[in-house]
Symmetry: C2
Subunit: 392 residues, 2 copies
């Protein structure tokens, strides 16, 4: 994977999680980078989310390092804000940067105090091991119930040269991003003004993380950060803006799809297309209702072309539509026409539904212009096994 | 169980479901009864729901018979309205009543045409077998994935005597009633004016069916009907209204709890109490968010006192509250105080969570007057097994 210039990465095991697997990571830019973030909309927000927002505000969208720990969400903890801030200060001291240029992110169990010494004691070694070859190691260190690391990248022509975007993300459960989900870090070596960067991230997010769910539970720690350090020497001008944003959205969609595919216990990636809704937002609401229905997700797990559940779920989305105008397709096969059963071969479709990727198209004929794509996963017994005993 | 006077019941196997188990049922009042109903708020509504509403409007709240079938929801079907109406007409002819006094209700698979002849051919035998001794048989005939019939009753002093309320209900999946859920039929021999009856049903429903979910999926067929035929000779006057409504709510809560307890794959009944919310409605929204969180439901299945998930779910309810004011109790044990971990014995609480009934209290200290009770169930691997292969 081609990585953007001017970033270095490090990870190690600091003793935060029970199993001896890297749980502390640092992403650093060689020079201060423009930075934008999107965060959870949960009313309960973890300390690192609050500190991240405060630092981005104070720095006016500039950052040099992201400090991430797994194994403890640092949420609903007595000392949460103090711990997050102390760790940022320790990084800033070692890196000789303003404290506001260090952004914290945490994932793991909620409500358990996080011992800051585990982190601060490990920081000198962590900073000393920063290297441009540790990208993949960091993508593994931020995992919790994930079964595999999740990375994506793209190259974009810009100015007189090429810029590179690379991202990593984690997440398998407690996932229904309303803004971002769990943790995602995207780096580029393009030069982009902070104000422009924030708008690009919001746009790309609307078509990626905000269109994906695993279980409908929005986390307290969702954080997605985008860094642009300009190390390529190429600046994104107004005319490059759309091409770059599209490439960014592509990388973020790739990451979001990897999260859905690796949803806790999931065997299948489900892509839901909605067309003909009153607006794109209404399309997203319909798609989200279908994606979050346990009955739809279990039907897909069982390769059951039970389109009645899809129509039922859409009917609960709060969006006004005429059921008699609805066509539904599964794996390209029309299973419902004008709200009624369409003839199809049950056996042939069941075989197609056994595939690892399942497409659902929900089309309101003669409806509006609103459309969207949304990613989720099937719901298997393994999800229950994982979550009935995660904490203890 | 004491049953109200003046009602008769019948059921038989008409060949609608694949297994030879009663699938057609009739509830009849000896005289026209005042009747009120609450129905699904799903945008997609089954034909019997539409016919029920039209008949209640036409009759101004009077009904003599309820015709119920299991095995086919008569929803998203080409001939749905015609079939439902034809069946009502056939009952009306046999019972010599206006067509609008017959109310249809269906439950089962969505999107499969319902053959009306299966029903009309069986009706003469069904009507001939009406008896006051078939209450329990009918409560079994309306079951789908239910593992047991669900009935409840109460006696209330009214006027110079006593009146009786008895109800039956069904439902185990596709259950998050916004108004009512799946099917519920409640009969009383009190005399109550139709206009008064509708208000009492709405009030009782707000504290029972509207406070319960299994999987967060609102069905297309939800129908709850309340009949009052006056056969006891006692009239509910304005002064008896509150006592009667309370007894009615008690019967309906009993039925709603039985649905939650028999939720697909459920091993535990969960009762969620919310106090200190800005309003009762806000309390219900918090309770519903907790009840619908797969992560909360799987934690309860695993007897895991994972209160962080409860706080996370409440934070997604859309209700504004201050996390630092929240106390959470599980089985009476305080697990979270002012938004932070409270000390408790993990082993002792895990043992308590192994019980068949689990209580969760979510209290906003110094908050508003809003409170509610809400019922749901845990989420086990069996739910997945049931729903991955329901249709085929």
């Amino acid at each position: 994977m081609k990585l953007p210039l001017g970033y270095r990465y490090a990870s190690l095991y600091a003793g935060i999680r029970k199993v001896a697997q890297d749980d502390l990571a640092l992403i650093a830019s060689d020079t201060p980078a423009a930075c934008a973030g999107v965060f959870t909309q949960n009313r309960v927000q973890a300390a690192p989310v609050k500190v991240c927002k405060a630092h981005l505000k104070e720095s006016r969208g500039v950052a040099g390092a992201i400090l991430i720990n797994a194994g403890n969400a640092n949420c609903a903890t007595r000392s949460g804000d103090r711990v997050a801030l102390a760790c940022c200060k320790a990084v800033a001291k070692l890196r000789k940067s303003p404290v506001s240029h260090v952004l914290p992110a945490s994932t793991g169990v909620i409500g358990v105090e996080l011992d800051p010494r585990l982190i601060t004691d490990a920081l000198p070694k962590l900073v000393a091991s920063l290297s441009d070859r540790n990208f993949e190691a960091v993508s593994r260190a931020i995992m919790t119930t994930d079964t595999r690391p999740k990375t994506a990248s793209a190259e974009v022509a810009a100015g007189k040269g090429t810029v590179t975007i690379a991202g990593m993300t984690k997440g398998a459960g407690m996932i229904m991003p309303m803004m971002a989900t769990t943790l995602g870090f995207v780096m580029t070596d393009a030069a982009i003004a902070p104000s422009m960067l924030a708008g690009m991230l919001r746009e790309a997010n609307e078509e990626s993380y905000s269109r994906m769910s695993v279980d409908g539970d929005t986390s307290t720690n969702d954080t997605l950060l985008l860094l642009a350090n300009g190390a390529s020497g190429q600046k994104i001008s107004a005319k490059d803006r759309n091409v770059f944003t599209e490439a960014l959205a592509h990388v973020m969609q790739d990451l979001a799809r990897q999260i859905a595919r690796d949803g806790e216990g999931a065997k299948k990636l489900i892509t839901i297309h909605v067309e003909g809704a009153p607006s794109n937002d209404a399309a997203a609401r319909i798609a989200r209702a279908i994606a979050n229905s346990p009955l739809v997700k279990t039907a897909v797990a069982g390769s059951d072309p039970n389109w009645g559940r899809i129509v039922m779920a859409a009917g609960n989305s709060g969006v006004a539509f005429e059921p008699a105008q609805v066509d539904v397709y599964m794996q390209g096969v029309r299973v419902c026409r004008k709200g009624l059963a369409a003839p199809f071969s049950e056996d042939a479709l069941k075989a197609k539904l056994d595939e690892k990727e399942v497409d659902i198209h929900f089309v309101i004929q003669g409806g509006g212009e609103g459309q969207t794509r949304f990613w989720t996963c099937d719901f298997t017994e393994e999800y229950i096994r994982i979550n009935a005993s995660y904490r203890t």
